[in-house]
């Protein structure tokens, strides 16, 4: 009887403990330290968390994920990308994506993380993603402006930092160059400031910033292989196509607009959000020296800038409860562009090969029919 009593008391206590454990989880004040998969991608992460996450992605997916340090920031930190794709014996075509060129646009690195997680989560079961992972390598830089991003996490007063962290020169005591005005793409002509205290300071010369140089170097080396270039920013809900100069049109402007508008439609289908598509002189403001323009100038045919949510209500300080829906819609938009890029490269080739084979077969059949 005593044992039964003790046993049942023990059982009751145990079930109470288990229940309160669940209850505590449900009702606990949501903790920033929580690292469960379920809510990792619904929070912003600082640079050391993102670095640890990159290691985790490599560890968990060793046959498809590797990393590459391709440059150094002003403060001598590594600029790292993840290379994601099914391994191949032949040289592969590539898709480039970078996030966080402007430090305060925190939703952008969050999207790069989400994008990586999504393709890794789906490539084994989704035939289209699998095909793209087979034919392409994704080169994804979660945070390009590492120094600026770290600075924007320092405290509330540094949250809205935009530029790199290189010091001013020539007696100017302010810091930083706008990395997206520093590329060798008609540098310094329009939409920039020559005052080093300005948020759009273009630098002492093109590629004065090691971060811009790192991207330039990689794109230059991979130029023949990169099919599409995507650079992620916030805010305004826009898809920008080259060029930033009001009087210069990209040679494939029509194609860029068509693909961009398709991406905007894909975005709208997810949560109803409107993204406007156009060149920046048309829909935002003219400016030169951008990474997008540089990519297009060296021959990468599909070059897009995404400006993610919102339209000014929160601006750069987008609430964490909007990370998931923003990433979902941006993913749909990016996938539209990547699918178009992939199919244009691989289905066109396949179509030509197939057509050639069929005509050859037909000719052979006809001539053999005649001869017999």
């Amino acid at each position: 009887m005593m044992m039964l009593g003790l046993g049942s008391v023990g059982l009751v206590l145990l079930s109470l403990a288990v229940q309160s454990g669940h209850g505590a989880q449900d009702s606990a004040v949501w903790s920033r330290e929580e690292t469960t998969e379920r809510n990792y991608y619904t929070r912003y992460h600082n640079m050391s968390e993102i670095t640890a996450w990159m290691e985790q992605m490599k560890r968990e997916n060793p046959d498809v994920v590797s990393s590459m340090v391709y440059g150094q920031t002003y403060e001598r930190r590594n600029i790292t990308l993840l290379k994601i794709g099914l391994s191949s014996t032949v040289r592969k075509k590539a898709i480039w994506m970078d996030c966080g060129i402007h430090a305060r646009e925190w939703i952008a690195p969050a999207f790069c993380q989400y994008f990586v997680r999504e393709i890794l989560r789906t490539y084994k079961t989704d035939t289209k993603v699998n095909e793209m992972m087979k034919n392409l390598d994704f080169y994804i830089t979660p945070v390009l402006n590492v120094d600026g991003y770290i600075y924007s996490w320092h405290n509330e007063s540094t949250r809205l930092w935009r530029k790199s962290r290189s010091p001013g020169t020539g007696g100017c005591t302010c810091y930083g160059t706008d990395l997206n005005r520093n590329f060798y793409a008609n540098w310094g002509m329009v939409g920039v400031s020559t005052d080093c205290c300005s948020e759009t300071y273009c630098g002492t010369k093109a590629l004065s910033e090691s971060e811009a140089w790192a991207v330039t170097d990689m794109l230059g080396k991979m130029r023949e292989d990169i099919l599409a270039f995507l650079t992620i920013h916030s805010y305004s809900q826009l898809i920008l196509v080259p060029y930033g100069h009001p009087n210069i049109s990209a040679p494939n402007y029509d194609e860029l607009m068509e693909v961009g508008l398709g991406a905007a439609m894909a975005i709208k289908a997810v949560h109803g959000m409107d993204y406007t598509v156009g060149t920046s002189p048309d829909i935002l403001y003219p400016f030169l020296g951008s990474s997008q323009d540089f990519a297009r100038l060296i021959g990468i045919p599909l070059s897009f800038t995404f400006e993610l949510r919102d339209k000014g209500e929160h601006g750069f300080e987008l609430p964490e409860d909007q990370i998931q829906p923003t990433c979902e819609e941006a993913y749909a938009g990016a996938q539209h562009i990547i699918t178009y890029t992939h199919d244009k490269a691989f289905y066109s080739y396949a179509a030509t090969v197939t057509a050639t084979l069929w005509t050859t077969l037909l000719a052979a059949w006809v001539s053999s029919a005649i001869l017999l």
Partner: protein
């Protein structure tokens, strides 16, 4: 039979030799940076068109019918948004531009430029939308002069905020528990629910400055309420000191303003004083080298 074969083979050769799609080997038309047919010629002596604390290069102003998704219509529409908030905004009514339907612009003989717009505006708390017709006038010439706006909207005032406003007013008018707050929203975009009406009030108050400072080369949004402090209620008006951060999109600058703000349900939002805060240049040094 032989002729048929010949024709067939000719047709096949023509088809075979001209695939309808190109095999992509990757690159577009260019090899070097400066060889792209569309690039502006790069020379050793690039003249920058800006000097010192510079403005954007003179934009050629569009006249006539405006493309609703292009920036001239959108910048003008945002000015209308700021105007509507100065007229109708409150801690529980904050209006944002939803859609530009159509617009036109014209020069007004050496005096400035006039815009006409058809817009949809949305009130953010109630989600009520309204159709608006607006006319703006941007004065030209030297010196900064605020744009003049006229707008009439249908449907926006349908959001019934009276009960909430009255409750908020009663809750805070007694001076024994003055409220204050800072960093709204915080770095993660969060704010305490009790701070939300103060954030909205800050946004409406900022609209007074944003309206006044706007021209055809600016696009303003409030980035954050850095801090606010409630002062003693005076003449039945709730009173606050606000420090707000405005984001100007074209220059990408963050501009600090201090405001003295009053509000009551009857009088609406008023901004009694504004003070531009200078940008702190010495604040930019790396954290471990300051102090």
């Amino acid at each position: 039979m032989g002729w048929t074969l010949l024709i067939l083979l000719v047709v096949l050769t023509v088809v075979h030799g001209n695939p309808t799609v190109m095999v992509r080997t990757g690159s577009g038309p260019t090899v070097g940076f400066d060889q792209h047919p569309n690039s502006v010629p790069l020379g050793e002596d690039i003249q920058t068109t800006t000097e010192g604390e510079s403005e954007v290069v003179e934009e050629v102003m569009t006249t006539g019918v405006l493309n609703p998704s292009h920036y001239p219509a959108r910048r003008a529409a945002t000015v209308v948004q700021h105007y509507l908030n100065t007229r109708y905004g409150s801690p529980y009514r904050w209006i944002f531009l939803s859609t530009v339907h159509s617009g036109s612009a014209e020069d007004v003989a050496e005096m400035g430029r006039k815009y006409q717009l058809e817009l949809t505006m949305q009130e953010m708390i109630s989600n009520v939308s309204g159709q608006c017709s607006a006319e703006l006038f941007f004065p030209g010439g030297e010196g900064q002069s605020a744009p003049q706006v006229q707008a009439s909207c249908e449907g926006l005032h349908q959001s019934n905020t009276t009960a909430q406003e009255e409750a908020f007013y009663q809750q805070h008018r007694a001076s024994n528990n003055l409220v204050s707050g800072n960093n709204i929203p915080d770095s993660y975009g969060h704010m305490e629910p009790s701070m939300k009406p103060f954030w909205q009030l800050g946004g409406v108050a900022s609209s007074f400055i944003m309206l006044r400072e706007s021209n055809e080369s600016t696009l303003y949004n409030m980035a954050q309420v850095a801090n606010f402090t409630q002062l003693e209620t005076e003449k039945d008006q709730l009173r606050f000191n606000y420090h707000v951060l405005l984001h100007e999109m074209i220059s990408q600058e963050i501009i600090h303003w201090k405001l003295l703000v009053t509000w009551s349900p009857e009088q609406g939002v008023q901004v009694l004083q504004t003070e531009l805060q200078p940008k702190c240049h010495h604040c930019e040094a790396p954290p471990n080298t300051t102090n």
